[in-house]
Symmetry: C2
């Protein structure tokens, strides 16, 4: 890997390139993940998922919609939901990052072929979209609430920004996006249509395309969209205007609310606007919303959004593990927000949140083979998932199963674009040196703002092992600082520079004097499995513990209960995980990489009757009438990382384990 | 009150008049509720709610839709959802019962006027409905999944059965229903359209109209509809066919599932069919579904259906108190099912379930003035409800507030028809005597199957007081039996006949030798307030207790926390009920009719941070890092009956109280 030559600024091959901020991102040409789980995810993404998505887009006709726009017949022949164009754009974005990560003529050919079909569908005035405005269709922008026209174009802008930074600004996709953005600015500018899109996304897309192409007008249009929202611009709907964050201006809101994907995309766009305009009040507002959402509206996995009905955040503390919605895309969106706040303000908590969401939600969505996906990521599966037909489109509501494709298939390409750009989230630079935020075997060849170079090779078995060796292969002439994140989950940690003294450090950011070339910094994190307890305000998991090991949340899967005796049939409310209790006085432990707890199967204790042959009871009893529950026989029960669950056939599962 | 003359069978003024079964219902002419809370509810219903509903039906144009059917212009001018006709029919049913309960010329005139408008809209072939089949509308029965055409006609049939039994079979409404039923039988008979309605109701309507009019063909058609369902007759939808119970035949299902109102209406119709056809297997199937739903899918209030998204039952044990949907109509439906099973098979558990659902759900829906209603009945309100504008239609999704009317306004008239017919659920007869199922001050003038008369005056302050005196004003010449239900909630009870010995009795049915005229039976139930604990399978309320007093579930409402110190501002996640813990070692107690618990406000214990000024935390902590929670200062805190909550302005509320 070579050091990049010359400061590229907005052309850095990274998803977010602010012109200012506390930290400066490093592009895919400066950071390469060379091994470990994330490299495997990237490999599966490149070799399986991208083609899988392309095939389904073709099969479902969502790509062919662009051809129909040229040949006519969209009104009769169009397939897919209002937002199906966006899945094509997200695939293009994923391909663009993948091409930046590792050039590939075959992939480049497929990318260009899709771009050609998209480009052909663009109308003379720059508008692009297959759902509105053609003969027999409703006119453009007549359904801002649900039409998703600006949303789709926003994803086009993100894809084009990716391509501009990995393939250059003379790419055809970039030209298509530029014309589309000009159309959007002309149509929705200060004197134009005063509307906004029901699904935020165009804001973040305009901001990034504006940065990539050096077009301040796109950023100004993003700022207009951000400021317009929250004043009841859109129609009231059954879910209320909070669904699309049109109930309160962004700068006045106290917490992320409404539809969780929309909320995060909007927040990301608002940070972009705030950073570029120096709007500290807006940045403070979003940072506060982020903090309260993390503190009160986020699952232990990092997942967000507890409502199925409107795919929305619940009230503070409403985090039921069963029927947790925790949409994959909401976590992709939360990574977008956390990363932007990290660049703007630093802070270990943002990188903690990114690690959590990536490890336990985004990585949970795809199966190991990268060809089926969770849309929702429940924390408690009570009824065994049926075997999924890998050839059938799933409805979103069935999303407690991994499925190859969905009627609303936003998640698969969202995972793909995130995985392809993963290296961008590993490290940053500032005037003083390099900051390491995520740990994976990696090569980092960073150019500091000063123009000097720092080369780091990260050697680690993380997260299986807590030791992270940072080998310095190139260092500036003068002093520099290496900043390491000690994750909040690591209750203790030690750091050593070269042959220096071992230093005990606490969670947060640890700065060490950067060694000379051939020096080494060793960080030891505490990855012993541990019980995690919830804030007592979270009613739904009272009296439960979760198990976490390093950044990975673990779960109990019924297929591992074979040795537990009667009822251990691997499924059903009685036979599966629902009557398991753990002995919290015995901390979880690890043998040969496997994590165990001491647990038993609850007998017919309490008010109810757990015998499946007799359900004639009422499950609420007068407290005084109850006999004490018998202590169950205890076994050593293995857990699995949550992101690995549902890869061994139908099962029930739970993350939160009731205590004895 | 006079004894009825002659056995009337199907003409008994009661909602359900099976031709066979373990118990025989008594009509509104045989039972009158003379005082207590139920009489007050009936009075408000008669004097406020009926007119309130009529005004809103007029105002929203749902009544005028029938006029438009005559004058033309339905296609352009029709207002309301697909099922708006049914609300008119439910109002007519409520009026019919009210006229049976207490004749009133004014009400009779309003009833006849509405019937005239409805009748005018009937088409020559008997079809009636304002949503399909007119010029400019889709053809009839082209959307069985969502069109609700048979559902609406089913409610017409129930209304007509009520009128036939309270006003005679020569009423115009009865004639309209008869022609509509003939149309349905002709259209959907064995050789006709093999479809079913997406919302069950026509089954129970046909069965009852058939009974009331002595038309076995209507019952046969109901049986056809019941048998057809469950074989994938309707289209698959996002919620799956389980939503409308078209996934499994009724006789094969193991538990009530899918949309909770649909599930209960279907079960009620299936019981009617099973009873009339002697289909024991079908009756057993529904009884088993009912039992499992009670044991595993019912809130402590008797409410059913935990999902907002599809208004559906969750899996077994999924009963989160916050965002409990617990639709009012689902409990009306559950009363319908429980009552039919009680008539078919006896059993105190059915009357227990009726009492629970009536007391804690159906009676919770209307405000004290009978002019606003809960659609959903949550068990935990985390954010104070905003003040409801009594002049604005509410969306269903806002249903954590009582509102005067809803876009989907099924609940208000469902409550009205239930309240107007409440006396029908009080008592039954069999060959041996009289069974008392529900306790309220009442006059019962029952004719036994033998033709002999039993007259009972029930004197009680129930549920404020547990003493129920049954004064015998008329008795048969020979031996007879008075059967009394001892509710399951009464852990002890005593019964005494005349001056006989006091007998300790347990929950269930207690039979006593019926006294002669002027004799008395005194039942003493234990209405001391008590803690109720949930079956440990119900994850969402682990570590909590509820308080019940007699049949009434109590709740903590934030307006009662004024004396609790900081944060007691009556609302918000931190200031309201969310951080309250009760000392479960001190049983709840009663002073002057008010119920108290010993409770405190949790400090900044545990992982989280309850200080509103600093939310920058992550709410999950490593167990070993936690300090023990400080014991809060304890206070005597009053609770209120759940059905009374939200009558004192905006508040937060919870039924399940975490223990110290």
């Amino acid at each position: 890997m070579l050091f990049p030559t010359g400061h590229r600024g907005a052309a850095t091959p990274t998803p977010v390139a602010p012109s200012t901020g506390r930290l400066r991102p490093l592009g895919l040409d400066q950071v390469r993940i060379t091994g470990g789980p994330w490299a495997r995810r990237q490999e599966v993404n490149a070799t399986a998922t991208l083609a899988h998505i392309e095939q389904w887009l073709e099969r479902e006709g969502w790509l062919a919609n662009f051809d129909l726009a040229v040949s006519g017949g969209l009104a009769e022949g169009r397939r897919g939901r209002e937002f199906s164009d966006s899945e094509v754009y997200k695939l293009l974005e994923a391909m663009a990052w993948e091409l930046g990560r590792r050039p590939d003529d075959g992939l480049r050919g497929r990318f260009d072929a899709i771009v050609a079909r998209v480009a052909a569908a663009q109308e003379p005035d720059g508008y692009i979209g297959t759902r509105f405005g053609r003969p027999g269709q409703e006119p453009r922008y007549t359904d801002l609430e649900w039409g998703h026209e600006l949303y789709c174009q926003g994803h086009l802008f993100q894809a084009a920004a990716a391509r501009a930074r990995t393939g250059g600004t003379d790419d055809r996709l970039v030209e298509v996006a530029r014309r589309s953005a000009e159309h959007v600015c002309a149509t929705f500018g200060p004197d134009g249509n005063q509307g906004i899109c029901g699904h935020a996304e165009v804001e973040v897309g305009l901001a990034e395309l504006g940065r990539a192409l050096g077009e301040p007008r796109y950023l100004a249009q993003a700022a207009l969209f951000v400021e317009r929202r929250g004043h009841g611009v859109l129609a009231d709907i059954e879910f209320g205007r909070s669904y699309y964050q049109d109930d309160v201006p962004v700068r006045d809101a106290e917490v992320l609310h409404g539809h969780a994907v929309r909320a995060n995309y909007l927040a990301a766009g608002a940070v972009d606007v705030a950073v570029e305009t120096g709007d500290t009040a807006l940045l403070d507002a979003v940072a506060g919303q982020w903090a309260r959402a993390q503190a009160r509206r986020t699952y232990v996995t990092g997942g967000q959004g507890s409502h199925h009905q409107d795919e929305a955040f619940g009230d503070d503390w409403v985090l039921p593990p069963d029927r947790a919605y925790s949409e994959t895309c909401a976590s992709v969106g939360s990574v977008m927000v956390s990363w932007r706040l990290l660049l703007a303000r630093g802070g270990a908590e943002h990188a903690d949140a990114i690690e959590r969401a990536l490890t336990n939600v985004v990585a949970t969505s795809p199966a190991h083979d990268g060809r089926s996906f969770f849309y929702a990521n429940t924390l408690h599966q009570r009824v065994p998932a049926e075997h999924v037909d890998t050839d059938v489109v799933s409805k979103r509501a069935e999303a407690s199963l991994r499925a190859p494709w969905f009627e609303v298939s936003c998640c698969p390409p969202n995972v793909a674009r995130t995985f392809a750009s993963l290296a961008a989230y590993v490290a940053t630079v500032d005037d003083g040196g390099v900051q390491l935020h995520q740990y994976a075997p990696a090569e980092i060849r960073a150019e500091l703002p000063s123009g000097e170079h720092v080369g780091l090779d990260v050697v680690t078995d993380y997260p299986a092992d807590g030791r992270v060796e940072v080998r310095v292969v190139a260092a500036p002439a003068g002093d520099w600082t290496l900043t390491l994140r000690v994750p909040a989950w690591s209750s203790s940690a030690r750091v050593r520079v070269d042959d220096g003294a071992v230093r005990e450090v606490g969670p947060g950011l640890v700065e060490v004097a950067g060694p000379r070339a051939d020096g080494v910094v060793v960080l030891d994190l505490d990855t012993a499995p541990r019980f995690v307890v919830p804030d007592p305000h979270i009613d739904a998991v009272r009296g439960c513990v979760a198990v976490q090991r390093g950044p990975e949340v673990y779960c109990l899967e019924s297929v591992d209960l074979a040795a537990m005796g009667p009822g251990s049939d691997g499924g059903g409310a009685d036979g599966g995980v629902d009557d398991i209790v753990v002995d919290a006085s015995v901390p979880p432990w690890e043998v040969d990489g496997a994590v165990y707890v001491r647990a038993g199967r609850r007998g017919a204790a309490g008010a109810g009757d757990s015998d499946d042959t007799d359900v004639a009871g009422w499950p609420y009893a007068t407290a005084a009438d109850l006999d004490p529950a018998p202590r169950p026989e205890l076994h050593d029960v293995p857990l699995v990382p949550y992101h690995d669950w549902a890869n061994r056939g139908p099962a029930t599962m739970r993350v939160w384990l009731p205590t004895l």
